[in-house]
């Protein structure tokens, strides 16, 4: 019998022969993170997935409209009912319910003479981070926005991932980067909460320097590959989990620079990653960081 004749059987046997039980720590880790993970409101999830609601503003106007319509219909239905038996209802007016939903604007990209300008508000209404209104930066020609969510965006040159810039509010360092599975911490909202958690990572972490981003106080540190005994035994150098669930690590020739900016008590995290970046890409990365302009957080 040839290999080709036995192929389906070989394939099935091979698939069946691999491990089928999850390590005990995996479930423990899921249950641990579950305790801290919020559940999204169903209306937000559903609206986000409806293609007709491409613009965030439209989504929220639609929600507000639907709520108003429901209230009107409900009041009309209530008014059409026969009066209930018993004492007449009180003449005290019932206050109409009010719904306040903070919009989550998408980044807007405008072409400029030298590249593109990105305007973005970052944060979310369901945690302790508030919106910035707005955050702007200038992208040199040849760079594009790569990642975008309510709490995370990135920019890279179109030529590849040798240089990357990320804007977010939170990176979640691993409790023990050498343990498996990895458990990401929820560090507090202050700049120092994050800096303190990063300073003890088992990789090469520079001393922390005080700096300023667009007039706001910031702390900056640089993270690079560990050498010798400070790395994990298996050689991995994963250090944190991004907002989008992706793990970030350092490797050979990789340098991660992080700024944690205190904007009137709200933290913005800027991360620049270089790996085999050209001198031009490194200069452009710094140019983007220098171009960041911040407005105070919107008042609630």
């Amino acid at each position: 019998m040839t290999h080709q004749d036995r192929f389906p059987e070989l394939l099935t046997d091979w698939l069946e022969s691999q491990p089928a039980s999850a390590p005990d720590q995996l479930l423990e880790s899921v249950l641990h993170d579950l305790q801290q993970a919020p559940q999204r409101g169903s209306w937000r999830v559903v609206l986000r997935r409806l293609p007709m609601f491409g613009q965030n503003a439209i989504r929220y106007y639609a929600v507000a409209g639907a709520v108003v319509l429901a209230v009107v219909i409900g009041l009309g239905f209530w008014a059409g009912q026969p009066p209930p038996a018993g004492p007449p209802p009180s003449a005290t007016p019932v206050p109409a319910p009010t719904v306040t939903v903070a919009p989550i604007p998408d980044p807007t990209i405008q072409p400029t003479d030298t590249g593109q300008s990105m305007v973005w508000s970052i944060g979310g209404p369901d945690d302790y981070f508030r919106f910035f209104t707005p955050l702007t930066l200038e992208l040199p020609r040849g760079w594009d926005v790569q990642y975008s969510s309510a709490r995370m965006a990135g920019a890279t040159p179109r030529t590849g991932f040798d240089a990357m810039l990320f804007l977010t509010t939170q990176v979640r360092p691993f409790e023990d980067p050498c343990a498996r599975p990895l458990v990401a911490m929820n560090v507090g909202p202050a700049v120092d909460d994050l800096i303190d958690a990063l300073a003890i990572l088992p990789v090469e972490v520079s001393s922390v320097t005080d700096t300023v981003i667009d007039g706001y106080p910031a702390k900056q540190l640089t993270i690079s590959e560990a050498s010798g005994a400070s790395a994990c035994e298996d050689g991995s150098q994963l250090i944190w989990r991004w907002e989008n669930g992706i793990n970030h690590g350092v490797g050979p020739e990789s340098v991660t620079r992080l700024w944690a900016v205190n904007i009137d008590g709200t933290r913005l995290v800027i991360v620049a990653v270089e790996e085999d970046a050209s001198p031009q890409e490194k200069a452009q990365l710094q140019q983007i960081v220098d171009s960041i302009r911040l407005a105070p957080p919107a008042s609630d």
């Binding site: 091979w14 691999q18 993170d33 669930g245 992706i246």
Partner: protein
């Protein structure tokens, strides 16, 4: 299960923990096969389960929980597979797997399959695993992956062709590798 899904979708963490407990082995087995990596499979399962918890209120039909969870898992596997491109890191994977008795004489074949399987794209691997390991029909596979039936059929066709060709080529290359050794 349906009752647990309904409770969990209303925010009952204990109900979701029960769902996670009953699903974690199956999810890990699928992710492990798609990604061919012990640690990444764990990360994918964790990501899929937490995503399921977050988005569960959007699941309209509780009876569709398992296919929906499969879909989240495959997406998490895609994301895991894409990490190396976006965030290149040096990770040496150490995984301990049970020793295999080669008395049936198929260990060499298994190595061939494994080498060939790693040459597939993650999208092709997902179709192969869902069809040959989970036992889904191609229509069910297309529903899980939210792709047209024809695309699922095409991915499977090309995946099997690549696997067959790779095994054939590996078989031919053995003698020369043996001489080098």
């Amino acid at each position: 299960v349906q009752d647990l899904v309904e409770l969990a979708s209303r925010g009952d963490r204990d109900a979701f923990a029960a769902l996670a407990s009953s699903s974690v082995d199956r999810l890990f087995a699928i992710a492990r096969r798609i990604l061919q990596d012990h640690d990444r499979a764990q990360d994918a399962v964790q990501s899929a389960l937490l995503g399921a918890w977050r988005d569960l209120p959007s699941l309209r039909d509780p009876t569709r929980f398992q296919p929906w969870l499969n879909r989240l898992l495959v997406r998490a596997c895609y994301a895991e597979a894409g990490k190396q491109r976006a965030f290149r890191v040096s990770v040496r994977v150490v995984s301990i797997e049970p020793a295999t008795d080669d008395s049936t004489g198929w260990l060499a074949d298994r190595d061939q399959i494994e080498r060939a399987f790693r040459r597939l794209t993650v999208e092709q691997r997902a179709v192969v695993v869902l069809h040959f390991y989970v036992g889904l029909t191609l229509k069910e596979v297309s529903e899980v992956l939210t792709i047209p039936d024809g695309t699922a059929r095409s991915r499977l066709h090309y995946a099997l062709r690549i696997l067959r060709a790779a095994i054939e080529a590996d078989s031919r290359s053995w003698p020369s590798e043996g001489r080098q050794a």
